[in-house]
C-alpha cells in the first residue's frame, strides 16, 4: 500500500519534471530571437555583420598563430610548407595536421598561408554606441563650402517619445470610455433596434482600416483637423471601438443579473448602476482592452503617418525608429537598440496591468 503511494508520488514528480522541462525549452525557444536582438543591440555594426551574436558564448575557433608569406612559390605545383605538402586548392580549403590547420587566405596572386590552432574564445566587445546614437541622435558631418566640416546633431528620441505618449494614452482612454457606455447599453438596456445596432458594430470589426484612410483624411482636411493630435485620437478611437464594444459587451452581459435587479429594486438609475456596479466589476475586461489598444496604438505607424505626418516635431516613435535606418537602410544596426527603447513603455504598461490581464483574457469567453 505504502509503496503504491510512493510510486504514485514518484510518477507525479516525473510528470512535473517533464512538463517543466518542456515548458522551459519552449520559453527558451520563444525568447531566443529576442535575446539575440538584445545581444546585437550592444554590438557594433561590423561585429553584427561578420559574426553571429551567439559568439559571445565560449566556443572554439581557429586562431592564427603564424603567418607565412608564400613568396614566389609555384602555385600550380604542390607546395611544401610546415612539413606538409599540399596543392594550392587543398590549402585554400584548409589542410589539417594534428591540432594545427594550414589555410591559404587570398587568391593565387595575393595572400598568405596561415597556421591556425583551435582556441576557446568569446566575443565580448560590447558597445553602447547604438543606444547612444538612438537616444541622443545621430551626428551628421556636412562639408561646408569652405571645406570645413560642420557636425549636425540629428534629433534625439525624447520628442518622438513624448509624441507617442501624447497619441497613445488619449487614444486608449477615449475608446474605452465610449465603449463602456455602449456595451452597457447593449447588454442591459432595452431599446428598439438593439440587436441590429449591435450586429452593425460587430460587422465593423471586419472593415480594414486602410480603406477608410482617404475618406477620413478628406474630411479632416475639410475640417482643418489634419496634422493635429485630435485627428489621430479620433481615428484610433474609431478604429478601436468595434472590438472594444464587442469585448466589453460580452463581459458585461455575463455579470449576474441578480445584482443588477436588486440595485434596480433599490431605486438605482442606469447611470448609478453603470458607475457603481458595472465599471468596478468590469475592471479586468477594461484593463485587458486597454493593454490591447495601447500596444496597438503605440506600435502603429500608418495611422500616425497619414494623420499627423512625419515632421520632426510631430512624428511618433515608430516613425523616428523607421528613419533611424538611414536614407538607404545603411544604419540598420541601430534598429536593434531602437526596438528595445520603444519596448520599454509597453512593457511597463503590460506588467503594471498584468494582474488584470489573465482574468481579462477570459473576458466574454464564458457566458453565464
Amino acid at each position: 500500500m505504502s509503496s503504491n503511494v510512493g510510486s504514485a508520488k514518484k510518477d507525479k514528480l516525473v510528470g512535473d519534471l517533464v512538463v517543466n522541462v518542456a515548458l522551459a525549452l519552449l520559453v527558451l525557444l520563444w525568447t531566443i530571437p529576442t535575446i539575440g536582438l538584445l545581444v546585437s543591440s550592444f554590438r557594433d555594426q561590423f561585429a553584427i555583420a561578420t559574426t553571429g551574436w551567439w559568439t559571445i558564448f565560449p566556443h572554439r575557433e581557429w586562431v592564427t598563430i603564424k603567418t607565412i608569406e608564400p613568396g614566389a612559390v609555384e602555385r600550380d605545383q604542390p607546395i611544401d610548407v610546415e612539413n606538409i605538402r599540399a596543392t594550392f586548392d587543398e590549402l585554400r580549403e584548409g589542410v589539417q595536421s594534428g591540432d594545427k590547420r594550414l589555410v591559404w587566405i587570398g587568391n593565387r596572386r595575393l595572400g598568405t598561408i596561415q597556421v591556425q590552432e583551435q582556441e576557446w574564445t568569446m566575443n565580448l566587445d560590447f558597445t553602447l554606441e547604438n543606444y547612444q546614437n538612438v537616444l541622443t541622435g545621430k551626428r551628421y558631418e556636412v562639408t561646408q563650402p569652405d571645406g570645413s566640416v560642420k557636425i549636425e546633431q540629428g534629433s534625439d528620441m525624447s520628442n518622438a517619445f513624448l509624441n507617442s505618449i501624447a497619441v497613445s494614452i488619449p487614444a486608449t482612454v477615449i475608446p474605452i470610455l465610449i465603449a463602456a457606455f455602449a456595451a452597457y447599453g447593449f447588454a442591459w438596456m432595452k431599446f428598439p433596434g438593439r440587436r441590429m445596432f449591435f450586429i452593425m458594430v460587430v460587422a465593423l470589426l471586419v472593415v480594414p482600416l486602410q480603406i477608410a484612410l482617404v475618406p477620413i483624411l478628406r474630411d479632416y482636411v475639410r475640417l482643418d483637423l489634419n496634422g493635429t493630435f485630435l485627428a489621430v485620437w479620433l481615428a484610433h478611437a474609431g478604429f478601436g471601438l468595434p472590438l472594444a464594444v464587442y469585448l466589453l459587451y460580452n463581459y458585461m452581459s455575463t455579470l449576474p443579473r441578480d445584482i443588477l435587479e436588486s440595485a434596480f429594486i433599490d431605486g438605482a438609475s442606469h447611470f448609478t448602476i453603470f458607475t457603481r456596479l458595472i465599471l468596478p466589476l468590469s475592471l479586468p475586461a477594461l484593463a485587458s482592452f486597454a493593454i490591447f489598444q495601447f500596444l496597438w496604438v503605440w506600435n502603429d505607424y500608418l495611422v500616425a503617418l497619414i494623420f499627423i505626418g512625419a515632421t520632426a516635431d510631430t512624428q511618433v516613435l515608430t516613425m523616428r525608429i523607421a528613419e533611424l535606418v538611414g536614407s538607404r537602410g545603411n544604419d540598420w544596426h541601430l534598429l536593434t537598440a531602437g526596438a528595445f527603447i520603444s519596448m520599454v513603455l509597453p512593457l511597463v504598461v503590460f506588467f503594471s496591468l498584468q494582474r488584470f490581464f489573465v482574468r481579462g483574457m477570459l473576458a466574454g469567453s464564458v457566458k453565464g
Binding site: V214, R218, D224, L305, S327, G329
Partner: protein
Amino acid sequence: MKKNLWLLLAMLTAVIVVISACAPAPPAEEPAAEEAPAEEAAAEEPAAEEAPAEEAAAEEPAAEEPAAEEEAMASTGEGGYLDRALAGEFAGTTVTMMGPFTDEDEVKFNNAIADFEEKTGIDIQYTGTKEFEATISVRVDAGDAPDIVDFPQPGLAANFASTGDIVDVLSFMDVDTLRERYDDSWLDMAVVNGPNGPMMAGVWHRFNGKSLVWYPKDDFDAAGYEVPETWDDMLELTQMIADDGDTAWCVGIESGAATGWPATDWMEEVMLRTTSLENYDAWVTGDLPFSSPEVKNAAEQIGNIWFNDEYVLGGRAGIVSTFFGDAPNGMFEDPPRCWLHKQGNFITSFFPAGAEAGVDYDFFYLPPIDEQYGKPFLVAGDLMAAFSDSDETKAVMEFFSTGESVKGWLQAGGALSPHLDAQLDWYGDDVERGIAQLVQEATAFRFDGSDLMPGEVGAGSFWKGMTDWVSGSADLDTALQEIDASWPSNN
C-alpha cells in the same frame, strides 16, 4: 485602489490634452487648441494670420495670370519668379515639401537650401518619410497635397500628372530658360502625358549615376589586374580572377519588399549596351515586350556571369539572399573575396567607415558591349513637381532648376547635379566629381527604366520576375512572360 487607477488615467489624459494643445504643433492645430491657455493661443495666432495676409498680397500682382506668364516668357531672368523671390517679394511665405529624403539626406538637403531661405525669406518645410510612395497617394487623393513633391520615380509623377494634380512647369518657365539649365535629355525625361497633352512634370534636382563598377583599388593593383575597357575584357578579367581561385563579382539583390531591384538595374545597363536607345525607350513604355529577343538576350548576358558559381561570391543561391548593402563587403576583406561590384554612386555610404576613395576602392565605367551603341550612362534622379500654383512655389521650383540649389549638397557629398551651370569643382568628393565627368562624357544617358515603368511593373513584377529567375524558381521565359502579363492593360 480602483478609484485611484481611474483618477490617474483621467489626470494623465487631461495633462496630455493640455500639453499637446500647448505644444508647438502645426498651424492647423487651432481646433484642438481651444483648451490651451489664452496666451498660448494668442502667441500662435499672429503667425497663422500673417501667412494668409502675405499670401493674399503676393497673389495680387499675379491676379492677371496671362500677363505674368508673358513676363516669364519674355525674359529669361528679370521678372522671373526666382528674381522676384530674391528681391524679397515672397518673404514670410511657406512652401511645404514632401519626399523620400530622410536622415542624412534630409540634413544635407536642408543645408543646401538654407542660403536660399535666408535670402528670400521663404520658409521651405520639408517632410521626409520612408513610406513616401504610400503617403503621397493618400495625401493627394484627400486633397491635402504639399506644394512641391520630390519624386524619385518619374513614373509615379506621371500618374499624378495625368490626373491634373501637377502644375505644368512650362506654365511658369519658358523652354529657352530650361534649355539653358538642362541638357535636352533631362528635359525629355520630365515630359509626361498631362490631361491636355504632353506637359513637363517637374524639374530635376539631383541624380545618381548607376553605370559604375567598384573595385578594391590597392589589392586590385597589387594583384596586377587591369581595369577592363570592353565587356569582353571584363569577362576575361572575371575568368582570370576565377582561375586565381577567387570569385570576381559581389552581387546581392535582397532589399526587403523591394528585393530584385539591383537586378533590374543590371537589365537596364545591358539593354542600353546591346540594343538601340529607341528599343530601350520602347521597352520602358511597354511597346517592346519583355519576352522579345532583345530583352531576353540582355538577361542571358547577365546570366552568363551570375549563374556561374565561380564568378559570384556565394554563388547563384547567394545572390537573392544577400542584402544589396552588404554585397560589397567582400571587397573590403583582407584579402578581398570578390573584386567587382556594379552599383550606383550611393553605395559608398555602405562601404566600411574607414574605406578611403582612390586607395581602398575606386570605380570604372561599366564597359560597352557593342561599339555601335556608344557609351550610354544609366541614371536615376529626383524630380521636383509642383502641386500648387502659388507664386512662392513657382519661385522655389525655379530655384531647383539652378545648380545653386544643389551646390551645398555637392560639397557635402552624396549627390550629383544635372544642372548645366554646376561646376565640377563644386564637388567635395573626388569620386563624385569623377562620376559627373563620366556622365558628361557619356554618349547618351537614360533614366532607370524600372522607375519610369508603371508602378505595377517597375516596382512590382519586374523586381519579382528577376528574383524568381535568379533564385531558379522560374525559368527565364516564364519570368519574362509573367512580367509582360502584369503590364497594366490600359497601356
